[in-house]
C-alpha cells in the first residue's frame, strides 16, 4: 500500500483549528515517506491558513451546498466520505481524526464506507508494510496496548505536541460538493447550555473535584478563573454532582485540555482524570491531603482546604497591581 495519510478536520465557526490530526498525519507520513493531505470541511479562512502554515501538504477546502454549522456527524460523515472520493484520496492508508465524540462518529462513518479498521484514540502511530500499528491507552489509563491492522485504518489523536508549523506552506485546493445528504434530524435546540467558557482551548484551567463539596465552591473557582482569564472544569464526580456541566468534564471520558497552567482544587489526581491533562501543563494543586496523588504530578502545591486559599487568592489577584500584557508572560 502506498496511498496517502489524510488528516480529517471538522471545523466550527469561531474556533481555532485542532491541529492535532494534521501534525500526527504529517509525522506518520514523514517517517514512511508517504504523501499527506488534509481535508477541512466548512473551514473559515483563518482555519485554512492555519492548516496551510503547517507545511508541505495539500489542504482540501471542502464546502457542501447543504451543510449548516449546526449539522452533526450524521450529515458531516457523508461529506468527508464524498470528499475523500472526489479528491482522489479514497486510496488512503490512514485517516486521522481529532479524538472525542465528533471524531469517533466520523471514524465510524469512514470505517464503514471504506471498509477501514477503526483503531480508536491512539498515539505512536506508524505505518507498517501492510497497514498501521499504534498504541492505545486502556483500563482507565493504567494499561497500554499496541494494536495493528492491515489495509485502510482510521485513528483519532489528541496529541498536538508533534512537529509544529514549517517554513514551507501547503497548497490549497477547493472542492465544492452537492451530493445528497441524509435528512436533518428533528433536534430541537432550547436555551443556552454551557454558561462557562470552553476548557479545551483555555490557557488556564481551574478544575474542581469532589473536595469542593458544592455549588458555592464552584462559584469561587469561577471568580478565580475570571482573575486568570481561565476556564472552569471539573472531575467526573463534580459533574455527577451537577456542579459543572459535562462539557467541562476533564479526563479520559471528557475533555482533553492542554493549558499552560492547570489549577486542580479538591482533585485527588486519578489516572482517569489526569489522562485529560496535557503533559506540558504546569499543575498547581490545592488539597487537604498531603498524600493525594495529585501532588506527585504537581509543580506547585498547597496543603489546605480550598476555603482557606481560593477566596484569599482571588482577593489578592484582584488587588495586586496591573496585569502583565500577554507579551510579558512567561514563555
Amino acid at each position: 500500500m502506498n496511498g496517502p495519510v489524510v488528516a480529517l478536520c471538522p471545523c466550527r465557526p469561531g474556533e481555532s483549528l485542532d491541529v492535532g490530526p494534521l501534525r500526527a498525519a504529517k509525522t506518520v507520513a514523514g517517517e514512511a515517506g508517504a504523501p499527506v493531505a488534509a481535508i477541512l470541511v466548512e473551514a473559515a479562512d483563518r482555519q485554512i491558513e492555519q492548516a496551510r502554515s503547517e507545511g508541505d501538504l495539500v489542504v482540501w477546502d471542502v464546502r457542501h451546498a447543504d451543510l449548516s454549522p449546526l449539522d452533526d456527524a450524521e450529515r458531516r460523515g457523508p461529506v468527508f466520505v464524498e470528499a475523500l472520493k472526489q479528491s482522489g484520496l479514497g486510496d488512503f492508508r490512514l485517516a486521522v481524526l481529532p479524538a472525542g465524540h465528533v471524531g469517533a462518529a466520523l471514524a465510524a462513518a469512514i470505517g464503514k464506507s471504506f471498509d477501514a479498521a477503526v483503531l480508536g484514540a491512539c498515539a505512536e502511530i506508524v505505518l507498517t508494510a501492510g497497514g498501521v500499528e499504534a498504541r492505545r491507552s486502556t483500563c482507565g489509563g493504567r494499561v497500554e496496548i499496541v494494536v495493528a491492522a492491515d489495509g485502510r485504518c482510521v485513528v483519532a489523536t489528541r496529541d498536538a505536541s508533534q512537529r509544529g508549523p514549517s517554513r514551507r506552506v501547503g497548497e490549497v485546493r477547493p472542492l465544492r460538493l452537492a451530493t445528497p445528504l441524509p435528512d436533518r434530524r428533528p433536534v430541537e435546540r432550547v436555551g443556552a447550555a454551557g454558561r462557562d467558557r470552553s476548557v479545551a482551548t483555555a490557557r488556564v484551567v481551574i478544575a474542581g473535584g469532589r473536595g469542593i463539596g458544592g455549588d458555592e465552591g464552584f462559584d469561587r473557582l469561577r471568580d478565580l478563573a475570571g482573575c486568570l482569564d481561565g476556564a472552569v472544569g471539573g472531575s467526573l464526580p463534580a459533574v455527577d454532582a451537577g456542579w459543572v456541566p459535562v462539557s467541562a468534564q476533564v479526563g479520559q471520558s471528557g475533555q482533553f485540555v492542554a493549558p499552560e497552567v492547570y489549577v486542580a482544587v479538591g482533585v485527588s489526581g486519578t489516572p482517569q482524570h489526569l489522562a485529560g491533562v496535557g503533559a506540558a501543563a504546569r499543575i498547581v494543586a490545592i488539597n487537604t491531603d498531603v498524600d493525594a496523588d495529585i501532588f506527585r504530578f504537581a509543580d506547585v502545591g498547597i496543603v489546605a482546604a480550598w476555603r482557606d486559599v481560593v477566596p484569599a487568592l482571588v482577593r489578592r489577584l484582584r488587588s495586586s497591581p496591573e496585569a502583565f500584557s500577554p507579551d510579558e508572560r512567561d514563555p
Binding site: A108, P186, R189, G301, S320, E322, F324
Partner: protein, 258 residues
C-alpha cells in the same frame, strides 16, 4: 417501548490493577469488576424511561465471561424484563470493529427488536468512545450520542443532551442507538433489598455469537508508563497568607488583562 441496555463493567478503579496476562479476558478475570459510571448512567436512563411509561420493557445484556455474573445479577436487581450475559470471548473487546459487529449480532438475535439501544459513552475497559458510533453503523441505525436524560412528552420519548450552544432534544422515532454520559439526573438508584435477593436466586441466559472476523490484531499489552514530570512538587510553606501570596505571584503572568 422496548429498550436494550448494553453493559460491560470495568476493573474497579479504586483498586490497583493486576496485570498478569496479556489477554484482555484474563485481565478482566484477574480484577474486581464494577459497572462504570457510563454503564450505570445507561441503566438509570432505561429505568427513568420505564418510570414514565410502565409498558416499557427493558432487556439488559452484560458482555463478559463468567466473572461478570455478579454484574448480571446487579442489573437484574432492578427488576428488568430480561437479563443475559453475552459471552465476550468471541467479541475481542479491544477490537472496535469486531465488538461492534458482535454486539449488533447479539441484538439482532433478540426475540423482539429493541426500539432503543442504550450504551455507555465508553464500553468497558478497552473502549475509548469509538464503539457506540461503530455499533450504530453496524446496525445501520442512527446515533444520538452523549445523551444525559430522557423524558416522555405524551407518547413521544425525548432524549436530551447539552449541545455546544443550547440544550438539544430529540423526539425518538425508533430504532435508535443512544450513547449515554454521566449526569446528575442519571445516577443509578439503589435497588430494593428484596429485589437484590430475588435476582440472586433467578437464573439468566448466556448468549453467544459466532466469532466475528477481527479487524485488528493485539500486538502487546503493558502497564501504562508513568507520566513524566520535571521536578518534585514545590510545596508552599509558612502561614496560609504567605502561601496565598506566593501562589498569587506564581500565577501573576496569567492574570487577566483589565
Amino acid at each position: 417501548m422496548k429498550v436494550a441496555v448494553l453493559l460491560a463493567g470495568v476493573a474497579d478503579p479504586r483498586h490497583p490493577l493486576t496485570l498478569r496476562s496479556s489477554r484482555p479476558p484474563e485481565i478482566r478475570r484477574d480484577n474486581p469488576l464494577v459497572f462504570s459510571p457510563f454503564d450505570e448512567a445507561a441503566l438509570e436512563l432505561a429505568l427513568k424511561i420505564r418510570d414514565g411509561r410502565r409498558d416499557t420493557a427493558i432487556t439488559a445484556i452484560v458482555a463478559g465471561g463468567a466473572e461478570s455474573d455478579a454484574l448480571v445479577r446487579k442489573a437484574a436487581a432492578h427488576r428488568l424484563d430480561s437479563v443475559a450475559r453475552l459471552e465476550s470471548e468471541a467479541l475481542a473487546i479491544w477490537d472496535v470493529g469486531a465488538t461492534a459487529h458482535g454486539l449488533a449480532e447479539a441484538l439482532r438475535g433478540l426475540a423482539t427488536r429493541p426500539d432503543l439501544v442504550l450504551i455507555g459513552r465508553e464500553f468497558g475497559d478497552f473502549d475509548d468512545g469509538a464503539l457506540a458510533p461503530c455499533l450504530a453503523a453496524a446496525l445501520g441505525w442512527p446515533l444520538f450520542d452523549l445523551a444525559q436524560f430522557a423524558r416522555w412528552e405524551g407518547d413521544e420519548l425525548i432524549l436530551v443532551r447539552d449541545g455546544r450552544s443550547a440544550e438539544e432534544r430529540l423526539g425518538l422515532r425508533p430504532p435508535w442507538v443512544a450513547s449515554v454520559t454521566n449526569d446528575r439526573r442519571n445516577r443509578l438508584r439503589h435497588p430494593l433489598m428484596k429485589n437484590v435477593m430475588e435476582a440472586r436466586r433467578r437464573g439468566f441466559d448466556v448468549l453467544t455469537v459466532a466469532p466475528v472476523v477481527p479487524s485488528a490484531t493485539l500486538k502487546a499489552v503493558a502497564p501504562a508508563r508513568e507520566r513524566t514530570r520535571r521536578e518534585p512538587c514545590r510545596f508552599l510553606t509558612g502561614s496560609v497568607e504567605n502561601q496565598v501570596a506566593e501562589l498569587a505571584a506564581y500565577l501573576q503572568p496569567w492574570r487577566a488583562l483589565r
